[in-house]
């Protein structure tokens, strides 16, 4: 069996950044395995600009952002395989993959899973009616249009006002489709304001807040939909339904980490994110298996994926090069009031005094919030932040000496009126 120091599964922005960082931190024997015919992952289909502003200080399209990182990978001569699907990983750090040469197994000292995310589909949201042709997730319609040059429909309705749906509203309009409107069940859009302006307002596409698709009409092909108003608890209000004729319904109702490989290997799952449980090294419950990017938790911006993956590449390098110090204390992290999830789930402290990074999301919109870390109801760290939204990840880091010798901490957000 072939041996490789570090195997990275997935050649999207997370895989690329973690490979580059592991290399720069001293691990030269790296293999990136990607199932598609090219590196870059989801960036290849995101042809709009909006990437890179925070990290590269330049507004790039998805393919341009990928180009930058692919170049950096090639400059370092890091090895990668394309058209190769990883079938299995296990706790012995063996990786089984298949490609046109057959099925192959390699042994690693560490594995980074950078697998990306899936879109929520029809079966995961409850809409009555048949499942006719003409209903697509927004990301799939994006792939068909931007990679394959195929426009899925002419009269389009969009459910969900997340950024992918908004970007597709503009893109399909530019290609000659009639986008009738966008329904959002919440009283506010989940997309960025800039996308409401340049994707909907610029083209006079209406956004209907507090509405949802209540029925799918048509049995073999989509003939139309019904939309209804919802109340403050997102329940449909009876007799508000109206029919809208359309041949295409795009679903832009959320993403979740793609996690089968890690689950099968036995890494404990985080039921709040659908990714794996991790410690502050981004290591799963199996030593030597790391996870990052949208396969860990869904990020708002690719820049944040790259930043996170730079850290993960370094952490994997520390394990491989035996640079890790002994753990002197270990604690659990719990999410409490107004926090829908927080990462990491456990923290292992050593005496090298490294900072600990936290990533969390607020459960609901809060105008002014106090983000607190508590131990036995005593605040050990806090700060105030304005305009908290579920669609915006909160990131911060703290000195590790604040945490030493604790067994448990709670992370909560207090709403300040």
């Amino acid at each position: 069996m072939e041996n490789v120091s570090l195997v990275i599964i997935g050649g999207g922005s997370a895989g690329l950044a973690s490979a580059i960082s592991a290399y720069d931190n001293g691990v030269k024997d790296i293999l990136v395995i990607e199932r598609s015919h090219e590196l870059g992952g989801i960036l290849n289909q995101c042809i709009h600009s909006g990437f890179g502003l925070s990290l590269l200080k330049e507004e790039l399209t998805g393919p341009e952002y990928a180009h930058h990182f692919i170049n950096e990978l090639k400059k370092r001569n890091i090895k990668y395989l394309l058209d190769s699907l990883v079938l299995e990983i296990n706790k012995n750090l063996e990786v089984v993959y298949s490609n046109s040469f057959g099925v192959n197994k390699i042994k690693a000292k560490a594995i980074i899973c950078a697998l990306g995310c899936n879109e929520r589909t029809f079966s995961q949201i409850f809409i009555p009616g048949d499942r006719p042709k003409g209903v697509y997730t927004a990301g799939l319609a994006q792939k068909y249009l931007n990679i394959d040059g195929y426009l899925v429909g002419k009269n389009v309705y969009i459910l969900g006002s997340g950024d992918i749906g908004l970007i597709m509203a503009r893109r399909m309009t530019l290609e000659g489709a009639n986008v009738i409107g966008v329904s959002e069940i919440m009283p506010y859009s989940n997309g960025l304001n800039r996308n409401i302006v340049q994707c909907l307002n610029d083209f006079n596409i209406p956004l209907y807040l507090k509405t949802t698709v209540s029925k799918i009409v048509g049995n073999k092909v989509l003939e139309g939909i019904e939309i209804s108003d919802v109340d403050d608890k997102q329940n449909i209000i009876l007799n508000t339904n109206r029919f809208i004729k359309c041949d295409t319904l795009l679903l832009s109702v959320g993403l979740y980490p793609f996690n089968t490989l890690l689950n099968k290997a036995g890494c404990k799952k985080n039921s709040l994110t659908n990714g794996a449980l991790i410690d502050n090294n981004f290591e799963t419950t199996i030593e030597g298996i790391f996870t990052t990017g949208n396969g860990l938790h869904v990020h708002d911006l690719v820049d944040f994926v790259s930043e996170e993956s730079f850290i993960v590449g370094k952490k994997a390098a520390e394990l491989i090069l035996n640079l890790r110090n002994d753990v002197i204390s270990e604690l659990n992290v719990n999410n409490k009031d107004n926090v829908s999830y927080v990462l990491p789930n456990t923290i292992k402290l050593t005496n090298n005094n490294e900072e600990v990074y936290f990533y969390l999301r607020v459960r609901k919109k809060i105008n002014k919030g106090k983000i607190k870390i508590l131990n036995n109801n005593k605040i050990i760290y806090s700060f105030i932040k304005m305009y908290l939204e579920p669609s915006e990840m909160i990131k911060f880091k703290i000195e590790s000496n604040l945490l030493i010798n604790l067994k448990e901490i709670d992370v909560e957000i207090e709403e300040i009126k």
Binding site: I47, H48, G149, L174, N193, R194, V197, D202, L301
Partner: protein
């Protein structure tokens, strides 16, 4: 008073315009955007161009922002052409489209 949302970065500042007074932007790009928005609104354009003898598309963009009211006409030009392999990164595919002094360039290297 007119209210705009700046589209130049994810922050999305609310900008208020009252006669000659412009407020609410956090950086100069916002001020520039607000001034243009009143006189000659500009937008970046991204699209794809068919690759000759291939089933795939080449992603492209405008080299600079275009006048908003010309976007549809530029889309028509983009959909008229195709491009042969190999394609270099930032290769000019349509030069000076519709005499707007903006090029349509590839955003990907494809061999």
């Amino acid at each position: 008073m007119k209210e705009l949302i700046c589209i130049n970065c994810p922050k999305g500042c609310h900008i208020f315009i009252n006669n000659d007074e412009i407020k609410g932007y956090s950086c100069l790009r916002g001020l520039y955007y607000a001034k243009n928005e009143l006189t000659n609104p500009l937008r970046n354009l991204s699209s794809t161009i068919k690759i000759k003898d291939s089933n795939l598309m080449c992603p492209v963009k405008s080299s600079k922002p275009l006048p908003k009211d010309k976007i549809n006409l530029v889309m028509k030009e983009i959909n008229k052409v195709d491009v042969s392999l190999p394609i270099k990164f930032h290769q000019v595919i349509i030069k000076n489209v519709l005499n707007l002094e903006v090029d349509i360039i590839s955003t990907k290297e494809i061999n």
